[in-house]
Each structure stands twice: as structure tokens, then as C-alpha cells.
């Protein structure tokens, strides 16, 4: 039998292999290891000159962040800002000889062959192969961040997955991967969202989000309550906690109120509320439709800005 590499059929496989490993090598030069947590480092991408993007949830500290580059050098990075909403964080570091990641001009498409890269160990780049398994439109994450498109992957999550790039078979970047935005499975924050959040974080250090000072929990509405609201809804958000001197308390929100609408839109879960508390809501008097004592009422809450990295 002929040696396999000389046969036409084997050549196709070898060509695919060269194509994929070449893509990993090209893209891998922009992938760095981020040391800001115990045990295994996370990954980051040289997104703009001197600017690294990584996954917010992998940074356990704001200072003393070390970055290992593709050539084994180690540099210290400064945190420029982080956003729990989109699970992105931005670092500044001297990255003179590190190429900036090349963004893909091609569209996202289901079935597209993609590679998730990481650099979880000093030195070695890692690669996982899969496809984009589902695409959706704009959505709100459970922390209220706005992401331009839902990108789900058929790729197993390995060490260093979060903060690493999703690249196409040419090695061009489609977005930043994270395991922090979905309970199961892998999600990619698309490059357009990464660009937008990076710009905001570099300018302001954070993505402003509105703050109400309430704890809410979804509850099923009884038939009587459903009749009391004018809405076609069977779920409301029960106020389980009111922060002392917070915006909600000052507006007169009481424990036991059930929120059924914000800004005239029905709300069925915390994400629906978060969607109304973007940067534009801060300082505004936002109308809330509530059920109190079995009757519908409306309350205007003056939304403040959420400070620091507080979660819902």
C-alpha cells in the first residue's frame, strides 16, 4: 500500500489539519494567560494595542494581575474596568511584540466551524474544535448586560476557556468565550459587543447600571390578582427585600408588593427588570406597575447608579 500521505484522500485530511493548526498558531499569538485567581489561570485576548479583554468572572482580584504572553514573557497588567453584565473585563499592559487579534469580517452562522483557544498553562496554547450550534438575537444576561447576539457553541468547556477567543477556521476572532453567562454550555460574547463594552470600560472604567434597592422573586399570580392587573400575565415579581434608604424605599415600595410592569412593559423575571435599568435609566423616574393589597398601583422610582461589582 502507498504511504497514506501521498494518496489523494489522505491529502484532504492533512490539508484540513494544516489549516486548523495554522489558524490556531496565528490566532494563538494574541492569546495570553491571565493570573488573577487561584489554581488555573484564565485566558485573555490582545484586543487593541495594549488592551487585553478577558472574562470578568475569572478575575478574583483587581490588582497584582500578571499576564503570560505567547513567547513566555510575563508582564504586569492594570485593570481598566470590568462589567459583570457582559462578563467582560479590560486590562492595560505593555504588549509591544504581541499581535493584536484579527477580527473576522465574516458573519456568524450556525454550523460554522470554530475553535476555542486558551492559554491556561504557562506557554502552551490550547484548542478545542466545534461548531456554532445556535444563534439568537440581542439578549440580556442574568446580570443585566446587553449582548448583541446569542452565540451558543458545541464545544466542551476546558481549563482556560473563559476569556479566550472564539476563532474561525482562518484564525480570525469572532468573540470572547465564557462559561459565566449560562448555567450549562458555552457562550461567546460577539466581537461587536466586546468592542462596545471595551470602549466604555476604557473611558469610564465600568458600564453603568441602574439600582433600585429591592429583592425580587418571581411568583405565580392568583386568578384574583390576574384580574386586578390589566396585563395578560400570570407571573409577577414579589418584593422580598427593600434596601434601607434605597431608591425603592424612598419611592414608597413595600415588602409584599408585586411588580408586574416597568416602563409600561410586562416583567416576568429579573432579566426583564434589568433590561429597563441600562445606563440611560440612571437619574430617571421610572414607572413601576405593582399589585398592592390586591389592587393595581403605579409607583415612580428614581433610579440610582449601581456601585461597584454588586450583583442582583
Amino acid at each position: 500500500m502507498d504511504a497514506m500521505e501521498t494518496s489523494g484522500a489522505g491529502g484532504v485530511l492533512a490539508a484540513v489539519s494544516d489549516e486548523l493548526s495554522g489558524a490556531v498558531q496565528r490566532a494563538g499569538a494574541s492569546v495570553v494567560a491571565i493570573h488573577a485567581r487561584r489554581r488555573i489561570p484564565s485566558s485573555g485576548v490582545h484586543w487593541r494595542a495594549g488592551v487585553i479583554v478577558t472574562a470578568h468572572h475569572t478575575l478574583e482580584r483587581d490588582a497584582d494581575i500578571r499576564v503570560t504572553l505567547h513567547d513566555g514573557r510575563s508582564v504586569t497588567a492594570q485593570l481598566a474596568g470590568r462589567d459583570a453584565g457582559t462578563d467582560l473585563a479590560v486590562l492595560r499592559a505593555p504588549l509591544d511584540d504581541v499581535p493584536v487579534a484579527q477580527q473576522s469580517a465574516a458573519a456568524l452562522a450556525v454550523g460554522r466551524i470554530v475553535l476555542a483557544l486558551g492559554r491556561p498553562w504557562e506557554g502552551d496554547v490550547t484548542a478545542s474544535l466545534g461548531v456554532i450550534s445556535a444563534l439568537g438575537g440581542e439578549y440580556r444576561t442574568w446580570h443585566g448586560g446587553r449582548i448583541d447576539r446569542l452565540v451558543r457553541l458545541d464545544i466542551s468547556i476546558q481549563d482556560g476557556f473563559s476569556g479566550g477567543p472564539l476563532v474561525d477556521a482562518r484564525g480570525e476572532v469572532l468573540g470572547i468565550n465564557t462559561s459565566g453567562l449560562a448555567r450549562r454550555g458555552a457562550v461567546t460574547v460577539p466581537a461587536t459587543t466586546v468592542d462596545r463594552v471595551t470602549t466604555t470600560l476604557l473611558e469610564k472604567g465600568r458600564v453603568a447600571r441602574g439600582y433600585l434597592g429591592v429583592g425580587l422573586q418571581p411568583v405565580r399570580l392568583t386568578e384574583a390578582l390576574r384580574r386586578a392587573t390589566a396585563r395578560e400575565t400570570s407571573i409577577g415579581l414579589l418584593v422580598t427585600h427593600v434596601e434601607g434608604d434605597g431608591p425603592a424605599e424612598r419611592a414608597g415600595v413595600l415588602l409584599g408588593d408585586i411588580v408586574v410592569g416597568v416602563n409600561g412593559r410586562a416583567v416576568r423575571d429579573l432579566r426583564d427588570v434589568a433590561a429597563q435599568l441600562g445606563p440611560e435609566s440612571i437619574g430617571q423616574r421610572v414607572p413601576f406597575d405593582v399589585l398592592r393589597g390586591g389592587r393595581a398601583a403605579s409607583i415612580e422610582i428614581e433610579v440610582l447608579e449601581r456601585s461597584g461589582g454588586e450583583e442582583e
Binding site: A9, G11, S17
Partner: protein, 302 residues
């Protein structure tokens, strides 16, 4: 509305030529299947084995813990096999069989692999005889003090029954022996370790030390591998020569260690009655001439 540009990258185009790709995979599977046997130990349908020479089969040491050992060829014949040698550290075992007709597999070179290189695995996952799995290299193997870096990590779906079977590159050459699955990754012994295992004499001389690899930098020089002596075996060669726990062995017979296996390899090749060991003690380098003992068969310590 988003205007979507058609997918036009080269790999997608190549994969789109599926009949040719399928033919390539089919051919690769056929060739690997001809060199792969089913290994059964005792009552357990253990795993796979790779024919490396007529009548000689390599598998994982953990596959052949029971007895008797049989191999079953692709055409369904079952013959007795004898465990000739095993290395539990590297999880390799060499079997001798009477089945001489399976074709030895071509061995490749794992240093040609890069992350993203296409690999295929052949074995008997969950009893599926001769099943092919396609994936890529997740992380390359290299020499280093951490045990995890000395294995090939492959993003390929394996299952019990793949153990001992080949991991091959896009040209169908064997680059590793699949040994385990960790967090969904296939983990394989690199073929270079297989080659060392195949040439090592069955009865390997030993020093009588227990060691663990560490990273060292001698006098500000390049990073290298040191072997920290954890314990010496009473009246063993090393103890008689004055090697003590806490010494760090850094070379043998004038060659500095670059990999954790280098001492084992040096011992395997040693023909003289003594070996000159270079070691670090109290921060200074010294040399000790140690006698080389001929050991018990199957001993694990170097």
C-alpha cells in the same frame, strides 16, 4: 437586517468536499483497524492494542491487570497473549502473541503536532469494535516537571475501550496511545515514550532511589529537570554511593537531564558497572560514581 457574508474559509471549503474527506477517513480507519486488536484480560473486555511488530502488541498497563490475556484480531480470531513487560508509570504494556498477521502500524512523531492538528483515535469504545473518532490536538505534549504536560491532550470523544488504542495524525501515523479521558479530553501517551518503552531492556538496571521531577535552574543557567531524591532504598546502589534524600539529581554520565525520563533512559543504555551522577546538594554541584545494580523484574523505581 444583518447581511451575512457566506462562509468562505478554507477549512470549511475542504470539509464541504465531504466525499473526499469521508474517503480519507475511511482509508485511515481501514489502515488503523488492520493494526488494532481487542485486548481482553480475565473476564474484562479491557481495551484496544496496537500491533507494533508481528506478534507484538502494545496496550495500556491498566488494561492488562487481569489474566489470562487474549487479543482478538479484526477478523474475530482470539489468541492467547503474554504480558512481556509493563511500565505502570507510563501506563504501557507489551504483549507477545501468536497472531502474526495483523499489520504493524506506522509510527509517527508527536513533535509534528500542534494545537489544532487533526487526530483520529481507533478503539473499541463501549464495545464498538473498530470505531473511529475524529478530533484535534488540544494541547501538545512536552517534557517538563508537571506530569500533565507529558501527555497529548486531544479534543476527541473517547470512552472505555479506547484505552491502549492508537491516536494517529492526519497521515494515519501513530502519534500516541490513548490512555484515559479527563474532563472530556482524550489523554494519550506520546509515541516517543512508546519508542523508549519498546527499546528499553526488559530488565532495567536501577539505582535504588525514589524521586520526583522538579524544575531546576543550576547557577542561573537554563531551566532544566532535576530529580529530587525522596527516599533511597536500603543497601541500594545509590545509598552505597552516598546519595541522600534531598539531593537533586541533574545529570548522568555527563549529560544534563532535560526530561524526567532521561535518568531511566541513561540507565537503560548503561553498559558500565558504574554511572557518574551529577547532583546538587546544599546549593553546590557535585559528582558521585554510583554502582549500577541489575534489578528485580518489573521494578518501578529507577
Amino acid at each position: 437586517m444583518l447581511t451575512e457574508r457566506p462562509v468562505d474559509d478554507a477549512a470549511t471549503k475542504l470539509l464541504a468536499s465531504t466525499p473526499r474527506l469521508e474517503a480519507a477517513l475511511d482509508e485511515t480507519a481501514l489502515r488503523l483497524r488492520a493494526s488494532t486488536v481487542h485486548v481482553l484480560a480475565g473476564d474484562v473486555a479491557g481495551g484496544a492494542g496496537l500491533v507494533v511488530e508481528p506478534g507484538r502488541v502494545v496496550t495500556n498497563a491498566h488494561v492488562v491487570t487481569g489474566s489470562p490475556v487474549h487479543v482478538e484480531t479484526a477478523d474475530g480470531r482470539r489468541v492467547r497473549a503474554r504480558v512481556e513487560r509493563r511500565d505502570t508509570w507510563r501506563d504501557l504494556a507489551l504483549l507477545e502473541t501468536e497472531a502474526h498477521d495483523p499489520v504493524p502500524a506506522p509510527l509517527g512523531d508527536e513533535t509534528s503536532l500542534r494545537p489544532g492538528s487533526v487526530v483520529v483515535a481507533l478503539g473499541h469504545p463501549l464495545g464498538w469494535a473498530g470505531a473511529l473518532a475524529l478530533g484535534i490536538v488540544h494541547r501538545v505534549a512536552r517534557d517538563g516537571p508537571a506530569a500533565s504536560v507529558r501527555w497529548i491532550h486531544a479534543d476527541v470523544r473517547l470512552a472505555p475501550g479506547n484505552s491502549g488504542g492508537p491516536l494517529a495524525d492526519a497521515g494515519g501515523r501513530v502519534v500516541g496511545i490513548n490512555a484515559m479521558v479527563a474532563n472530556g479530553l482524550g489523554i494519550a501517551v506520546p509515541v516517543s515514550a512508546l519508542r523508549r518503552f519498546l527499546v528499553a531492556p526488559a530488565r532495567r538496571p536501577r539505582l535504588g532511589v525514589r524521586m520526583r521531577p522538579i524544575e531546576v535552574r543550576v547557577h542561573g543557567g537554563r531551566r532544566g529537570i532535576g530529580l529530587l531524591v525522596v527516599d533511597t532504598i536500603a543497601r541500594g546502589a545509590a545509598e552505597r554511593a552516598g546519595v541522600r534524600a534531598g539531593d537533586v539529581l541533574i545529570g548522568a554520565d555527563g549529560v544534563r537531564f532535560a526530561a524526567p525520563f532521561d535518568l531511566t533512559d541513561a540507565l537503560a543504555l548503561a553498559t558500565a558497572a558504574t554511572m557518574r551522577i551529577e547532583l546538587v546538594r546544599n546549593g553546590s554541584v557535585r559528582e558521585i560514581d554510583a554502582p549500577v545494580d541489575q534489578p528485580d523484574p518489573g521494578a518501578r523505581a529507577a
